[in-house]
């Protein structure tokens, strides 16, 4: 529903934009000459690079596709505001309609009814470029609202750059609390759990293997590929299709993986709780996001047998399973931490103590079950809870992370909260043990450090955090305990200069929800 409202707002904003006289902010931007079309996840407005960048403003403020944060980024990329840049004229205003790959794409009939005609279907980025046949009307808005395939619609702004300049090199900041990943400003969750403060001294968990048991992982994603576990050419296993190519066809697992360990300070996309870690890609959920408990069990056993230290599980179901419980117990006996999402129920949540979802409600000693909080430290309206069965809260509303095909998206759910804890566990494991190993002692230590150092939030104290061994009622994940007052000067900081660059994929991000 929110998405639909957003589309409406976007398009209505667009209508206003087209109807009114619009003042334009103009920037020159430093970049290298290129004949390529370039897209930027930093700037939803950018598309063409032929000599000039233009970001539109309305009544002195950026219109809906240029939220404040993006404008700052835009300004930082601009050499100067250049009023001499001529207006863009005589060019048909176009729309970019991002579509949901699973829901298909807007049909020809939809476009005709909306008074639009397709110019190009950019399938790699999952969006259509369309032009209005005549004028955009309420019918356009209504038609797009009624098409389930439409995720996002926005004007296709004209952007161009001088052809005789080169990329402006941007030194990676010495202050590693602020990584160079361009979507950093949207990652409120990392700040909420104080991960950024820890990164000054601890950000590398490359010896820790985190299995993402989910819809698979896009192990070719530029923000993930350097943090993917590999053994004999395999990056995990696919028990949905029963092969060794656990490529994500849905997106959910890739999003979870990005929160755990999207490569940090690489000038692209997002950053995970760990800048370095080994993501083991496990797939048992199909393209529709569902799967069988039997295949989940196989994933757990496979990941444990192949050395995973942490299992990240952002899935659940209402039916108890002896086999699933046994698999988690086997992991427990090997010393593997099992992080589980508490589950979602729209608007109301659910008490897992009285109406359990599994595996979240299992009471194994190696389990951390995670509820979702929002940017205000309030419980997500959907989050499952339970004083006994849920252990801790973590960011799970408006979480931006990686998606297949070099895209990024913002999602809600306890599925997004659990990877924050899984990533934190990996970071804690790497700090606590020079040689991470599957042992009950190490696993217990990591679990206790996570739970005992939770930040109590009074408003959440009736929701979770009452079970042993760590009783922090209303506790929220917080890595502040890892912060060291003085960074170790002998620790090398691998920060080569990186290039602020455009990325040739459009971020699937709804800018209005990022404000």
């Amino acid at each position: 529903m929110l998405g639909r409202i957003t589309i409406g707002c976007l398009i209505l904003g667009m209508q206003l934009h087209w109807c009114d006289t619009v003042r334009a902010e103009k920037f020159r931007i430093a970049t290298k000459p290129s004949q390529e079309k370039r897209l930027s996840p930093e700037l939803d407005v950018l598309r063409h690079c032929n000599g000039r960048l233009m970001g539109f403003c309305k009544r002195g403020k950026p219109i809906i596709d240029v939220p404040k944060e993006q404008t700052n980024t835009l300004r930082s990329m601009a050499l100067a505001v250049d009023e001499s840049v001529p207006q863009v004229v005589d060019r048909p205003m176009r729309l970019l309609i991002t579509y949901d790959q699973l829901a298909g794409k807007p049909t020809t009939a939809t476009l005709q009814t909306a008074g639009l005609k397709a110019v190009e279907d950019y399938q790699h980025g999952s969006f259509l470029i369309v032009e209005p046949v005549e004028t955009v009307s309420a019918q356009t808005v209504e038609t797009l609202l009624n098409d389930e395939a439409v995720v996002h619609a926005a004007p296709d702004y004209v952007m161009s750059v001088p052809s005789n300049q080169t990329f402006r090199m941007v030194e990676a900041t010495a202050d590693t609390e602020t990584p160079t990943d361009p979507l950093w400003s949207y990652l409120w969750g990392m700040k909420n759990i104080n991960a950024n403060k820890v990164w000054r001294t601890h950000r590398d968990a490359s010896k820790v293997i985190v299995a993402v048991i989910d819809t698979g992982v896009d192990y070719t994603h530029p923000d993930l590929k350097n943090n993917i576990w590999t053994k004999n050419g395999s990056h995990g296993y696919d028990f949905f299709d029963d092969d060794n190519q656990p490529m994500d066809e849905q997106g959910h697992g890739t999003h979870c993986a990005g929160t755990i360990a999207a490569e940090g300070n690489n000038g692209a996309g997002v950053v995970g709780v760990c800048w370095k870690a080994q993501i083991m890609a496990m797939r048992f959920l199909g393209p529709d996001g569902s799967g069988s408990t039997a295949d989940a069990v196989k994933c757990i056993d496979w990941a444990v047998a192949n050395g995973a230290h942490v299992l990240s599980n952002s899935w659940a179901g209402p039916e108890n399973s002896v086999e699933l419980a046994a698999a988690i117990t086997r992991a427990e006996q090997k010393g593997v931490l099992f992080v589980a999402a508490a589950g979602n129920t729209v608007n109301t949540g659910n008490n897992n103590d009285t109406n359990p979802y599994y595996p979240a409600a299992f009471a194994n000693a190696n389990m951390i079950t995670v509820g979702a909080i929002d940017v205000n430290n309030a419980a997500g309206t959907f989050t499952h809870y339970g004083k006994i069965s849920v252990d801790i809260g973590a960011p799970g509303v408006g979480i931006v992370s990686s998606m297949p095909n070099n895209r990024y998206a913002q999602l809600d759910g306890t599925s997004m909260a659990a990877p924050h804890v899984a990533g934190a566990a990996a970071l804690v494991w790497a700090k606590a043990f020079a040689t991470p190993a599957q042992t009950p002692a190490q696993m217990t230590r990591v679990r206790d450090l996570i739970l005992q150092n939770a930040r109590p939030v009074p408003a959440l104290q009736n929701l979770w955090g009452y079970s042993s061994p760590a009783r922090v009622p209303g506790g929220v994940l917080d890595l502040a305990f890892m912060v060291e007052a003085t960074p170790d000067p002998t620790t090398p900081t691998p920060q080569p200069p990186v290039t602020r660059r455009f990325i040739e994929r459009r971020a699937v991000i709804d800018p209005t929800r990022l404000r």
């Binding site: 829901a103 408990t293 659940a316 179901g317 809600d412 759910g413």
Partner: protein, 195 residues
Amino acid sequence: MTCFTTLGMILLGCASCAAEPAGAKPTDEAVHVVCHGRLLQGVVAIGGDTTGTTVSFDGMTWDLKLNDQLRQQLAGNELRQVTVTGQLRRVQAVERPYCVVDVEKLIERDPKAPKPKAEVTVTGTLALPASNTLPKSISVAGESWPIVWGTDSKLQAQAVALAGKTVVVHGTAEANTEGGSKKFPIFHIEQLQAK
């Protein structure tokens, strides 16, 4: 044999529902379905967005909402092929939109028997197209379901005449392959009457 014994047990458990003939027209806005497919229990999904039981057929998978009695009767039984009768609705969950059938009746079916397409009887309001064309969707309790019409010119003319009105339509449910979507079905309408 065990499975067919279960069949009787489940039928008994739904005696009141079984009295309703298949394809009966519901009185309020609803999508009434009769489908035949493979039953899977112990289903999990991203974010827990599932009822835990599904039926899969013809490229579609629908979650099944079972009452306690049916749930207890199914527990431990290895039913594979079933016929499900109930009301279809959409669930806009947090992480995963999906279809749910509120099950009224569930019986085991012979896997070797011919499998008909899923039948739907929909009471709802036909969309009012911009011009004098065929309605492309039917609104049922606030949810819009895509529909297509056959080549029957009489049926098409009737559909145009009843656009914007409350009707009862009957047809089959098929995977919405346009754009590769398998989330929600598309209804192929074969019969139409004003309500």
